[in-house]
Structure formats: C-alpha cells, structure tokens
C-alpha cells in the first residue's frame, strides 16, 4: 500500500510584480472527509471492497473569473494524477476574483486529429507528457483513467480478484465546470489559495444521479451513447468542489 505522498509544489510562473500576487491552487482527491489514497481498499455503497490503482484526468483551461466576467488563464492543460495531492502556484494580477472555470478532459480543438508528437515532452499533451492517456490506434486523448480491483464478496482480507477499468474520452464527454460565489482577493504580499477537491466516493455514489456498482458495471472504453461512461463523467463533474 502506498500512502498519500507529501504535497508537491509546482512553480508555474516564477515572475512577480508589484501589481500581482501569488495564488496557490490545491488539487486533491477525497473519500468522504478523508484524503483519498490510491491502492487503499475502501468499501463502496454496494458493499464491494474496491481498490483504485490509477486515477488520472486531464483538466483544461483553468481560469479565474472576475465580477465583470473577465478571465485570467491559470493553466491551459494539466494532467492530474490523483495519487498525489498537488499545489499549483500562480502569479496572477491583483484584484478580486469571484469564480473559477475549468474543463474536464481535452477540448475538441486539441483532442482528435492532433499529433502528440508536435508538443515538447514537458507538455501534458505530448507523447511523454500524456503518460499513456492517448488512444494511439484511433487518435484522441483519454480524458480520464479510473482503474483498479474489486472484491464483490465484501469479505475483509479477501483478495481483490476482479478488475474495473474506466477509460473515458471523446469530444461529447468534455465538461466545462464553473464555480461561482468565490471571494478571492489577490494582492502583493498576501498569498491567496483555492482548493479543488474531487470526492471519489461521490463519483460512484452521487447525491443525485446514477450510482455505479462496479460489480456489474466494471468496464468502459467509451462509446457513442455510452450510458456507463456518461454516468461516470456526469458524476465526476458533480463530485468536484472548490473551497
């Protein structure tokens, strides 16, 4: 078992000026009120014992939004690996921000018919940077991978013999999320922070929406009108909260 690693700090924009301040955008996965730990065994609401071995996702076009609707781009593409919590540090213009916008997945303009080889290896959409999140036989980025093992008997200590695998992608699954009602003041010498939490338990058992029983719905590679992929991605979009 691998514990949740120390929080990483990623310096995105080192420059600073008198008219800007530092914003830290934290990103992490939760299971209920606890930090979510990859490779730890959890009970889901169906009584299955599940262990998530991989949970990665593209998050695109992350913007801060001002009260007048104007936006500040924080990050165009980010490949999140929810094995690790991260803090992304940005230098942004001073002022008050009331919202955060982001996309789940890769926007259509960058998704299919794009060549990962055109990007430098440091880019999240590059061959190296995409870390296997690309369908080479068919083109297009895999927006989210959610993979692991399950024991449907729910017996503590029993081996987790069955697999689940959700590879979700394709343009119709791209989701734009908008978080409003924030009151974030950025000023020189006054660091601000935002925390983005993904509640993994709510992806499988949403407050409203379609619950996913991994005992019976274990695999999707995404397809047109794919009910399982749609449920997963709808739940995922609803399971993200900003504090």
């Amino acid at each position: 078992m691998v514990g949740c690693k120390d929080e990483n700090t990623v310096e995105e924009k080192p420059e600073d000026t008198a008219t800007s301040g530092t914003l830290t955008l934290g990103m992490g996965a939760k299971w209920g009120n606890e930090d979510f730990v990859v490779e730890q065994v959890y009970f889901d609401t169906y009584g299955n014992r599940i262990r998530v071995d991989k949970f990665m996702s593209y998050i695109s076009e992350i913007h801060l939004v001002r009260a007048d609707g104007s936006e500040v781009l924080l990050k165009d593409f980010y490949l999140a690996d929810f094995e690790n919590d991260v803090n992304l540090n940005y230098t942004v213009p001073s002022g008050n921000y009331v919202g955060l916008k982001l996309g789940l997945g890769v926007p259509a303009a960058y998704n299919k018919h794009e060549d990962p080889a055109q990007y430098p290896s440091s880019h999240p959409l590059s061959v190296a940077g995409s870390q296997g999140m690309f369908w080479y036989w068919n083109t297009g980025y895999i927006f989210t991978k959610f993979e692991g093992k399950i024991d449907t008997t729910g017996t503590p200590g029993a081996e987790l013999l069955d697999s689940f695998l959700f590879h979700i992608g394709d343009d119709p699954y791209y989701r734009e999320l908008s978080f409003t009602g924030l009151n974030l003041n950025v000023a020189p010498n006054s660091p601000a922070s935002l925390q983005l939490n993904i509640f993994v338990d709510q992806i499988l058992a949403p407050a409203s929406g379609t619950s996913i029983d991994l005992a019976t719905n274990a695999v999707t590679h995404t397809s047109e009108l794919d009910v399982l992929a749609t449920s997963f991605f709808d739940n995922y979009a609803a399971a993200i909260a900003v504090e």
Binding site: S121, V127, A128, W135, T139, G140, E224
Partner: protein
Amino acid sequence: MRQLLLWSNLLLFLGIASCGPAVSDSPKDLPVRLRVPQGFPSLDFPPDNQPTQARIELGRRLFYHTDLSMDGKTNCGTCHVQSSAFTDGRTIAQGAHGQSGRRNTPTLANLGWSPYLMAEGGVPSLELQALAPLHEPSEMGINMMDAVARINAHEDLRALNRLAYGRDSLDPFTITRALAAFQRTMISGDSKYDQFKAGVSNLTDLERKGMELFFSKRLQCSECHSEPFFTDYGFYNVGLYTTYPDPGLERKTHLKADSGNFKTPTLRNIAVTAPYMHDGSLNTLEDVIAFYDSGGKGHHQQDKRIRELHLSQEEKEALVAFLHTLTDWNFLQNKTLSPWDE
C-alpha cells in the same frame, strides 16, 4: 542518374561525419520529387514534412531499426517484408516477444494516398500512425520515450536527424515524421496491368478475360476495389462469418451497424500478400474467389453485392490470372525501400 549521385553524396557525408569533424562544406538536405505513377492523383505532403533525402533515409533506417522495439529484435520490417509487398505471410501478425496481434498484416503500398490509417480508419495521417505500432504491445511494444533514448545512441541517425529536421536529437516528432516520409515513398503503380494500360505490355487472353470479369457489372469487384488503388477505402461486411469474432469498425464507432465491417484492402500486389482477409483465414487467391463465388455466409448485415456469382472454373482461373497482373515486381525489389545495410 542525378538522383543516384545525390544519394551517394549524402551517404558519403554520413560516413565522414561519424568518424570526425573533417567536413568543410556544411552538408545540405535536398528536396525529393517522388515519381507519381500514371493515373494516380497527385501526392500531398504535410507542410512540416515535405520529402527530402535525409528525411526519407532517416525514415528507412528507423523502419528497419530494432531499437524501436521492446525486445530489441523486432522492427517494422519484421511484419512488413518488402518481398511480400510489406506483409509477412502469417495468418495473424506477431510482434515483439512473439506476441500475437489481432489481425493479418496489411500491405503498405501507396499509403501516402490513404485518407486514413489503421484497420478502423481512426488515424488521420502517417505521422500520427507511427505512434500506434510502437506502443501496441503485440507490435513493437515500446514506450516512445524509451525508444527515443535508445535511438539517440546512434550517431548516424543523429546526423541524419540534424540534416533532416534541424534538431540535435531524435524525438517523437522527428521519428514519426521520418517514418512517414519513408512510407510515402512506398509507391506501387508499375504492375503488368499498369504497363498494359500504358500500352507497353500485353495481357494474355486469360488475364484479359479476368480483367473484363473484374470490372463487369455482373461481378462488381471494382465497385469497392476501384482504380487506381484498387480500394475505395470503404468499410463493408462481406459475410465472411455469420458472427464475427472481431468487431471490425464497431470497435471504433461502437455501432452495431458497423459490426463485421472491414476496410476494403488494396488489391495491388495481392498475389504476394497471402493469406487473405482481415484475419488471414483464406490461404490462397483461389480460396478467396471461391468464397465470393459462394455469396458469403449470410451475415444479417452482409453487403447486398455479395451474392452467389455462379462462376465457371475458367472464369475463376481468369480472375486469379488477372489478380496476378497487379503485382509490381519493381516495388518488391526496389533497393531504396530495402534495409540500408543490404
């Protein structure tokens, strides 16, 4: 002849460059004009990958380089053997570590004109396609970044890479571009049939009869296997099975209507690409003709044009004879498409 001289200059440069820095004139890459066969449309190139001598030569060396495979023993030419029109004679392809693929190895002739690549047609360019076999466990089975690390150990490739793309090290961009540049030179349009059409070769009576049958409304072969590439790049269910073990196009679209739909293969060089069909399940051209003569197995989505043909024995033989005229012997022996160390 001029082309040959330029080639030898390039190779000479590479020989010198790998021994020391004694080159006074800085070498230059030169553009290449590929000869497009009569009757073929013009060949388009991506703006960032116009054909040059160094790009094509780099692509050729990479195509035959075992450092692009996980086991260090496999290269593109392992399955794509030139003398078999870049197929391997196997029922199902076999890649690094002897891993079996899922389908029969396709020929690589005239891919520069193909509107899309891969069995399901999901990949839009040869540049992008090059990533697929590298990563596929049953083909080269290697992570591109591991391949990059290995391939950069070769000074001859780095020198070509600098010349071809102006970059010091090979990277995913230059590797995929070079492989595509080389594959666009795999042009096959000089078969006996092409020579017959150009008025420089004759067909036998049997071949001519086969040709007439092939293009006839009665048989409709040429509706899908249409000139000049002898494919329309369409996807059809020919009724090879009543239940297909391989979903075909459905794998990409997830639509039941596409179940058992497979891409029309080119018939150029078909006589040397046995066994046949997407799964290599028919061993000979005679078997294939017999299959189409029988009208298919009657899959519920079988194309309506696949129906009993009532061919006579002579007609079957004529069709096979005509298919043999589509073999382009120059293509199978052209040294510029062979491994460079031969």
